[in-house]
Symmetry: C2
Subunit: 590 residues, 2 copies
């Protein structure tokens, strides 16, 4: 008898299958927990904000919320996570990456060396009573670069690819959407080390291929978007997204060609003068001006854009700027702009600035022609602000010297595609589940990760990349993509079990176990729990979302089973001898 | 070609074996790291305090120290840890325990409910900028009890056994001995839940059997000691120890019977009056008095013991009390004694005490006969202390009312065994690597983990147990038990690989891979790295400590290999066709 058997509390035996490559078995005890998923009833009250798929994860006994943004994984959830980890291991191994396990504890000192300490408000700090300077790592560029710097000294030691799958920590101010935005979460992070820029680019391409292979195995549609690498420091970067209404990212894609980009990088047809198309009633509308501040609080940055024709408000609060201005485009011109500041704080700080910069969006009518209009608007905005005492800019030339030009208008659905003639851009909400970054020497420079190179006496900084996959987030987003009114649905690659054999109480134990054993090699589980009827067990199996269900019910008297697959809409009665073949046929499609 | 192949940087192919139940492969990149173990040379300088086995773990590329008491696991170390985790999974599964993964983040609030918050100075607290009340869990009784309380409501849901293998955190003031005493470390923690005291005791026995089976698989001698359960709250408890000079625990065992106990619980033959046996020159020696203080700083506690005959000092500093007094025995009489206080602090606090308690050890000559001597000593100690102003105890009766009696003498090697007639006790330094606790309702009471029980309308608290295994500590202690001058040595069950095939550069690749493939089913690795001679590879294999080494060297021309096992002292030349059999024969003994 070789089986995972789910039994009632009165049948304590548990038989496991040796040589099964899944190490974590749902056991007898897990079974007992499962009996309380539905009956307890109080689960949906635990977190009112969550949507259906997160509730199904709670009801199905995959996880429980411990504290806000902090989760416990129960046996089924841990199985899904381990399946994902195995899938990741397989594809990381395909590019020769070695698995390590870095400490979750890092130090302020190390983060100060790379300049990411003060700017990072998402760090969780650790206090023993001596103010140790320890923190919980939200990512491991600093630690792994320091580690490699201590061990690798020659180009001959490269390339090197190290990865881990472990917990990360982030001081998430507003944890939400279950596993999608948590304080503690699982990530796969791969770091690559090459001796030249070209080698690093080749590595980057290999990693992208491994990511494609990995995401393809999930058999779920995903988008790969050109991406801004934000404060990671590099320039080449791609994001892997699932399209989902739960997403918090905007991904733009062309209706005609293959262009896909995220909000930060979406390109605009240059100098498109939208105002020309607007039917201006009477005199032209005055431009809209937002005044922000630099990180060092020294400089006021005025952003001048064309006023949307239907907007009559004379000013718009800074807090609403992202509805009118593509801040990523502004950041490319003025990287030191503090985009995260709140309007109230900003108003307090602006009077103390002592420099001014001006950014005019080309979607605003041609600068030359409207200079006076622009300047009037800026001056007006400037005068409204409370730092008049420093106003020493009297002539038009003084102002114009400070003006830069860039298209900072926000992309809208229906805008023309920047890559093809005919396509229109459309935006979709998406969940980012993976990311590849070319880092260059952003970390190896400050942390002195240097190697000897051929034909030079000088050591050179290692060329790095970092490549993440959000493991917790994948679990939450896959659940959200495939659930229906009956319950969850898992792709074969990450299902807690690939198939379940569900038996009516009338079926003899040797028959149940016999059919289970027939599925050897498939990661299956047997539910012959006592005291539960077939309907209850089937509802339970639907809730959990096993890819394939084998039902030993009424037809079993004639030696027939029903093989079900909700995702493919299959319910098929098959002869005893054909069960395995049918299960395999279905699994291949999932 | 199905092989883990270690290659030089110029041969990038990596071939892995599918269906191998070890998920984590040492890869090409791992190999490159390995080349720098010895050459870097700076490793032993990293931590001057460490002993040889810890240095070998560093040199061998198993781990690196990230910060004081905080380690990164490199690929080989991670493999050892994963092997241990698999071994644990196997034995936890044998008692029907289900694997979960609890958050590392817990809350002060929960710990306050069980009364473990204020007393626990080893908690690491987490600060986002809002003083969140989060902490890093050093253990999970609180979290798991709260979790089970929310899900389990009837005795029918029990027994329940949940475990995890994960990181724990401790504000270790003085991290030392590498993995043996770290701030961040891996633990297996199992929690058991039963509906009655009797059922909990049966569970306890099952867990102990699983522990025995698990430790037996390591094929290393270990001791199981009766243990005090300290602040865990229960009464039935056992510790699993490796005897080692690196140990910080004292384990007492009888030379004759099977009695084994730890320092806290070692029993003493009652009222043995050691002083009678002492040849007292002239008048009896005055007793030795230590004065301590209660946790609430209200009470001075005077501990009176017989003066060792060779001791002439009139007073001994409080800091040295544990050399003279069994503090665990004192704590049983006065649980509120602060044993951790330093002498300097104590001297400042004693003058403010307003009560006195006195404990006389029966190993001191009979109390009745020597009352006046005892009292003189106490009074003298008391007068010397700086709180004379509160001395209102004038009559002998006043003093005697405050006297309790208990044997608080420390056990010494050669003391009689408390269990048998003839045995003598001997003490050994030991490393605690496992622990079983019967908790009773210590946590279920304060956290209201209650279940409906038969024949009662009142719900009752769940009877719990908690059972730990120190995974990081096992790695460190196994390394320390088996290393020799050539390197480490791993038991088969936890070795990073069970065997390695090491080849001379003259051996053809198809031969190397052929022999490797012959070992299919054994977790083996192949070292045919280019640019390294056979001697270098063999020294490397010895350093890492693979249980069995298969050498394809000079004799390979005649189709013969040498099979080596340093631990068993075997070096045997075998025919090509017999290699597998010989490797298996050796592995069975390791």
């Amino acid at each position: 008898m070789r089986a995972h058997i789910w039994r009632s509390a009165h049948r304590a035996s548990l038989v496991t299958r040796p040589n099964n490559n899944v190490r974590f078995l749902a056991t007898d005890s897990r079974n007992r927990l499962s009996k309380f998923w539905a009956p307890t009833g109080g689960i949906s009250a635990q977190d009112g904000e969550q949507d259906d798929s997160h509730n199904l994860l709670l009801k199905g006994g995959f996880l429980r919320q411990a504290h806000s943004g902090v989760f416990h994984l129960l046996p089924l959830g841990l199985r899904v996570q381990n399946k994902l980890e195995c899938l990741i291991d397989k594809h990381m191994s395909s590019i020769g990456a070695s698995k390590v396990s870095l400490s979750h504890i890092s130090t302020e000192e190390l983060w100060k060396q790379t300049g990411r300490y003060s700017s990072n408000s998402e760090l969780l700090r650790i206090n023993d009573r001596r103010e140790s300077g320890f923190l919980l790592a939200p990512t491991h560029e600093e630690e792994i670069t320091a580690l490699v710097a201590s061990m690798v000294h020659s180009y001959k030691d490269l390339p090197l690819r190290l990865y881990q799958t472990g917990r990360k920590y982030r001081a998430e101010k507003r944890p939400r959407q279950g596993l999608l935005r948590a304080k503690e979460f699982m990530m796969k992070d791969l770091y690559t080390f090459d001796s030249s820029h070209d080698a690093a680019l080749k590595t980057y391409a290999e990693v992208r291929q491994a990511y494609t292979n990995l995401f393809d195995e999930l058999k779920l549609p995903y988008l790969v978007a050109d991406a801004d690498s934000g404060n990671m420091g590099g320039k080449l970067s791609h994001e892997y997204h699932f399209v989902s209404p739960k997403g918090e990212d905007n991904v733009w894609s062309c209706s005609s060609c293959s262009y896909v980009a995220n909000e930060e990088l979406v390109e605009k047809p240059v100098f498109e003068t939208n105002l020309d198309e607007i039917d201006v009633p009477g005199e032209p509308l005055p431009p809209l001006v937002f005044t922000g501040i630099s990180m060092d609080r020294e400089t006021a940055i005025h952003i001048v854009i064309a006023r949307p024709p239907d907007l009559r408000d004379s000013t718009i609060s800074w807090d609403r700027i992202s509805s009118f201005v593509n801040l990523h485009a502004v950041k490319r011109m003025y990287p030191d702009l503090d985009t995260g500041i709140e309007a109230a704080t900003l108003q307090k700080l602006l009077p103390s600035t002592n420099q001014h910069k001006i950014l005019c969006s080309p979607s605003f009518p041609e600068l030359e022609k409207t200079t006076s209009g622009v300047l009037d608007a800026i001056k007006e905005a400037y005068t409204r602000s409370e730092h008049r005492q420093k106003a020493s800019y009297d002539t038009e030339m003084d102002w114009r010297k400070r003006v830069k030009e860039a298209d900072v208008s926000i992309t809208r659905s229906g805008d023309a595609c920047p890559r093809c003639e005919t396509g229109k851009l459309d935006v979709q909400k998406a969940i980012e589940v993976g990311h590849t970054f070319h880092l260059g020497t952003r970390y190896s420079d400050p942390l002195s990760a240097l190697v000897a190179v051929p034909h030079s006496t000088q050591k050179e900084a290692i060329h790095m990349g970092c490549h993440g996959i959000g493991v917790s987030r994948l679990i939450g987003s896959i659940a959200s993509l495939l659930y229906d009114s009956a319950g969850l649905n898992w792709p074969r690659a990450v299902a807690p079990f690939e198939a379940i054999v569900v038996t009516s109480p009338q079926v003899a134990e040797e028959d149940s176990v016999g059919i289970y054993d027939q599925l050897k090699g498939i990661d299956a589980v047997l539910d012959d729990r006592e005291g539960k009827n077939l309907g209850w067990k089937l509802r339970d199996a639907d809730l959990i979302g096993y890819p394939v269900i084998v039902v030993l019910g009424k037809a079993w008297k004639e030696g027939k089973a029903e093989v079900q697959c909700r995702r493919l809409g299959v319910k098929k009665v098959v002869e005893r001898g054909d069960i395995r073949q049918e299960v395999e046929r279905l699994l291949k499609q999932l």
